[in-house]
Symmetry: C2
Subunit: 361 residues, 2 copies
DNA sequence: TCCTGTTGCGCAAACGTTAGCACATTTTTC
DNA sequence: GAAAAATGTGCTAACGTTTGCGCAACAGGA
């Protein structure tokens, strides 16, 4: 190698060493255009030996591609519960993109404290080739900006808000179906009276859909969920615990709980334990998201599993498709909405035998 | 704005519009060199209005600065427990760097599955200005490579392995002290017989130091921890649970548990609950890391709080110092090791009254 | 009036790469 | 054996910045 102040190797170095022009080296390495097999081999092995890599800045100046994707995390990502869920998604996406030689930069739609958003910067400075938006929504003005910039982007995880334009790409799980599956299972266990633990946060669309699905399932068995059967929390363990504790005098008539969030479900489990209410003996509990924690609880929590792997895959493919189209100067492919199927994972809190069973076990 | 296929605004556009040269625009915007106050103002407001931002690639080609920092996460980051801890650190660091106009790219020392590491790529392609290494160690060969590349980098969180070269920068919490504080507290509560739950993973240095500190504290009270008092797990809730369950016949003589990891501590709490052993009545429990989950457990878990805020701050300042020095072509500042103080957070599992008390409550 | 200094700005080279074009050489085709 | 086509390579102009140098204009001092 070389001393610590050494200049990085450039195409020119290789060209001089091989006695050819810079273009020839470039073409040999990129495999573009006609080059004799002999020189190609020779140049490649020289580059290999020298540990040459293209200077990303120089290259992108010409190709307009930087090899980096921005992932826009939800503004509340600093919060425990949110990052618990999104980390898995983030990791899955990262793995896929890495295979395609993309690096990942994290972005936020707006920093609550500084008010500054690095998202806009990333776009205008051309530091990314595309965006995966995992934020429930972008400010209309910001959305308009991103769109006007021509930067490819897709929404992942959050369902499109009502009235969202049809020309946007969304990839998200079927929340209504998830709620349906959970509630249907409870009904099939013979549970007749269910109460719900949901969120009053501003992401509520997801939660409303889950409730809607649950109602549809119960209706099939002649059951229902009334306004008085619904408790609210803020998606934290604490809030689930408190909600159930506050509700304890009215708990008598219920034989099941449907929590639209795993953390709140876990809080509820704690409350039941403290109140001496047996799970699943007296009350069956189902959560939502199937976060990593759930299988490790006592009793292990049944939960609606989000199709994160599939979601990651579809998201990346979609985005890469948009990027490729743009690179080739083609028309932007028509927007699509991909709705993925969640799955119910039954564990002890519903009366299943073994601990931590399910996809991830 | 402009149509979606519009070219981004460049210095040239502004120059043409203002009737000056490109250099003048550049200098007005950067504030470098002499420019009349009048034109400076005029150019600035024009740029503002047009929403101009420098093209990062073009700029970095000349300045050799890309405005991006690579964060090297531990290879086991995909695992729940690990990301639970590092996320907080990552977020804190991100917030600091964002204020300094840096973006963050995630890197891995080596992908276990593909064998490929994007870290090397990031360095040779010059996609980052510096690295924050949160991995317990780098392969000697990789370390040599990074060092030889002249890329500024610092280690954060993990203590330097024995024999680590002194010319490397490390910022990490005092594990020995953490173990000491936890054990001393148990002794001060009148607990006379403690067993430990530690890890047998290859990060063990941290864990060995924690044990060492615990032993020192107990020795001050004439107590000790023998080999038979030590259980091993893999830093998961499950493993903590199983370790204690397997140990249940021998549990009689003990009045306290020191777990060198919060997740294992939580698993132990579950086991105690199942075995009908009262916490903190019969056994006091202290964990380590003070992860977000701990305060929410029942009983709330006492834990050694890692100085993550301070660590983030020191890490970023150190790295930015190195980058700045390099930019100015100065000598690399001498390496430093910053050892930070952890703090014990006492909650219910040790007999504290309120739930979720502590720094984060 | 001349000299010296300062101020404000433009020119042009550089950064490392890609790609269109031209040209020389080889191969194919009739 | 000549024309046409294919092949391999170099030249050169980009891409959007920064920056050293030079030059004109102007000010102040003698």
């Amino acid at each position: 190698m070389c001393a610590s102040d050494c200049k990085p190797i450039t195409l020119k170095h290789i060209a001089d060493l091989a006695g050819v022009s810079v273009s020839t080296v470039s073409r040999s390495l990129n495999g573009t255009s006609r080059i004799s097999e002999a020189t190609r081999q020779r140049i490649r092995s020289m580059a290999e030996e020298l540990g040459f890599e293209f200077n990303a800045s120089a290259r992108s100046l010409i190709t307009k591609q930087v090899g980096t994707i921005g992932v826009v995390l939800p503004p509340s990502y600093e919060e425990f519960g949110v990052n618990l869920y999104f980390n898995t998604l983030f990791n899955a996406i990262r793995a896929i993109l890495e295979r395609n030689d993309y690096d990942l930069i994290v972005a936020f739609p707006a920093n609550r404290f500084t008010g500054q958003d690095n998202l806009r910067r990333l776009v205008t400075r051309r530091k990314v080739d595309g965006l995966i938006v995992m934020s429930p929504r972008l400010e209309p003005e910001l959305l308009e900006f991103v769109r006007g910039s021509g930067m490819p982007f897709v929404f992942s995880h959050y369902p499109p808000p009502e009235g969202a334009e049809a020309e946007l790409d969304f990839i998200y799980p079927d929340n209504e179906l998830g709620g349906y599956l959970a509630a249907r299972h409870l009904a099939s266990l013979g549970r007749r009276r269910t109460f719900c633990l949901t969120s009053d946060a501003d992401y509520e669309l997801e939660y409303r859909l889950r409730l809607q699905g649950a109602r549809r399932a119960l209706a099939e068995s002649g059951l229902s969920i009334g306004a008085e059967d619904i408790l609210y929390g803020d998606m934290s363990i604490e809030s689930g615990y408190r909600a159930v504790m506050n509700f304890r005098r009215s708990l008598g008539g219920y034989d099941s709980l449907l929590a639209f969030d795993d953390l709140m479900a876990i809080g509820a489990l704690q409350a039941f334990a403290e109140l001496g209410i047996a799970v699943p003996g007296e009350v069956s509990v189902v959560g939502y998201d199937d976060c990593e924690l759930s299988g490790a609880m006592r009793p292990a929590l049944s939960s609606v599993h989000q199709p994160r792997e599939e979601m990651s895959l579809v998201t990346c493919e979609r985005l890469m498709g948009l990027i490729e189209a743009r690179r080739q100067g083609l028309e932007r492919p028509p927007a699509r909405r991909s709705v993925l199927r969640p799955e119910l994972v039954v564990r002890e809190s519903c009366g299943a035998r073994s601990r931590g069973a399910g996809p991830r076990a």
